[in-house]
Symmetry: C2
Subunit: 318 residues, 2 copies
């Protein structure tokens, strides 16, 4: 879906993919009730959000927080125009995601093989086999219900276990994911190691290898405070889709005062202030935080713009 | 001094001006003892910092936190190679700064006249008269001890009282400051309203009006989390000097969890990670926080990089 939106999108249109219900919720111990997840998604859609990663098809014993992902998908699908995205760790998860009716599947492939083995218990070759199996399943879907299949190179900007990740390795894996049958590749700064110069260099290298239309999205973290600076760097090399999490939910285990994912509210404020069009009503988005506060009392909610408020005289582009 | 450094600086060299002893300390109620201020400056110089705004020549009854600025200047001057900068609100303050031996004087001129009247109790015309008087004093200094005189357009990106500040007004005031005899003009996002597109547009407009060598520095705040994104925008239009405050000391009165100034540690990390040369040893810089923690127990110290630590395998450019 993202690729289609991207192709038809006017030049100043940026797609924000809300990943809080997946990446945010998997990072906290408490389980958000299904009704609250649905209310959260409903409220974001009402504010103008057009893509939400609503969960992950992983075994419930590993991530009980996301055990109801099929139900969340079913609810989210009732919103016309919403791209319902999910994470899938393997072909089994993808089969469940397709059965549930997800519009977009994202398979993570960690550029650091050490991280891949530790997280997914799979080598690069094994994850690429899963990618090929998922691509075959996706191809077998009837044309009208064929989901978009994204391969996401995680730890693409560095790894807490391996340290520096060579650019050539990321390019090689991006090519391998496309060869395995992905529709598109994303890059993920899982560890918050990325800097703006690196973002530009890596995006350019991957673009040169697989084509600019095959890498349109970045998943950035704000671990070292560089998240929005990395967005600016990405914008300048043609990135048009950014993942973000409302209230930076889930935080960052390595940085007590920091959000993990970049904060949706701050991202939308920055882009709209720049005259870019996210399609999202900031005032409405800021109110969605109330749902999180009520469903997860005491959970830290991050974001600078929510604390500081919008500038006097600020008006949205749209 | 900044202009000279800038001219002789290799292209990847960035000057960081530490403003914590002035902007940080004036924003908190407690008074840091002189010995701690001197220890702070000493430690930053030892880490490689080459410019520090050490205080402000304002009446002690207005800012008792900075009442010992003359003594701080005297101490800071013992460091060879350090540019000792101070803020001056008017000609009287400039005279005291020159007598104390400051290397650089910065006079703020608020683009919002409402803000100017409230803060300095002076209209634009009155501040420009002070600028002319200061320029005359500076010209009268013997060649070897002539300080650098910067006019800083504050609230350049918007004002909490007036809201939107027209770009034409900032350009007009930058020209007026140069006409009054300033050596250079800086732009200051006093209110944390700036966004990256605006930074680029405004810097370009001022460059077109007064010359690229007459605007080399930005003073940015992180009120809405966009501080480092704005740095990236500034770098791309030729800005080579950035103000920052260690630990974001002083915070932001409008955003409880946010630093006011951009955090020196995060800025240095970002620039060095990008392969730019700040001349500052990050590990040594991070240790300087201990001086603040000891001198101001309980005072919030901000910064993402200090919390998260440096990435595994990170090495500085220099």
């Amino acid at each position: 879906m993202a690729a289609q939106l991207s192709a038809s999108r006017p030049e100043n249109r940026i797609l924000i993919s809300e990943v809080g219900p997946r990446d945010g919720l998997q990072s906290i111990d408490r389980i958000m009730p299904l009704a609250a997840k649905c209310a959260w998604i409903d409220a974001e859609v009402a504010a103008g959000v057009t893509e939400v990663e609503v969960g992950s098809f992983v075994p419930a014993k590993l991530l009980p927080q996301l055990a109801d992902t099929a139900e969340v998908v079913a609810h989210a699908r009732t919103h016309p125009g919403l791209t319902v995205a999910v994470l899938v760790p393997n072909a089994k998860g993808a089969a469940a995601a397709i059965a549930a009716g997800a519009h977009k599947l994202t398979l993570p492939l960690s550029a650091s093989e050490t991280h891949s083995l530790k997280n997914l218990r799979r080598t690069h070759a094994q994850v690429l086999e899963e990618a090929a199996a998922i691509a075959a399943m996706v191809r077998d879907c009837p044309a009208g219900s064929r989901p978009h299949f994204e391969g996401s190179v995680s730890t693409a900007f560095g790894c807490t276990l391996e340290g520096i990740v060579p650019q050539a390795k990321v390019v090689e894996l991006a090519e391998a994911l496309m060869a395995a049958g992905c529709d598109e590749v994303g890059l993920s700064d899982t560890t918050g190691y990325a800097n703006p110069a690196q973002v530009q260099a890596l995006v350019r290298a991957v673009h040169a290898a697989i084509g600019t239309d095959k890498l349109t999205g970045l998943h950035l973290h704000n671990t070292r405070g560089l998240g929005l600076a990395n967005v600016i760097a990405g914008l300048e090399v043609g990135i048009t889709t950014f993942d973000a999490s409302l209230a930076g939910l889930g935080g960052c285990p390595f940085a007590p005062g920091a959000s993990g994912n970049i904060v949706t509210e701050d991202l939308v404020f920055m882009l709209e202030a720049m005259g870019l069009d996210t399609g999202i009503d900031i005032a409405a988005l800021l109110k969605v935080r109330d749902i999180l506060a009520a469903a997860l009392p005491g959970e830290p909610l991050y974001g600078f713009t929510p604390d500081a408020g919008l500038p006097l005289g600020f008006r949205q582009a749209a």
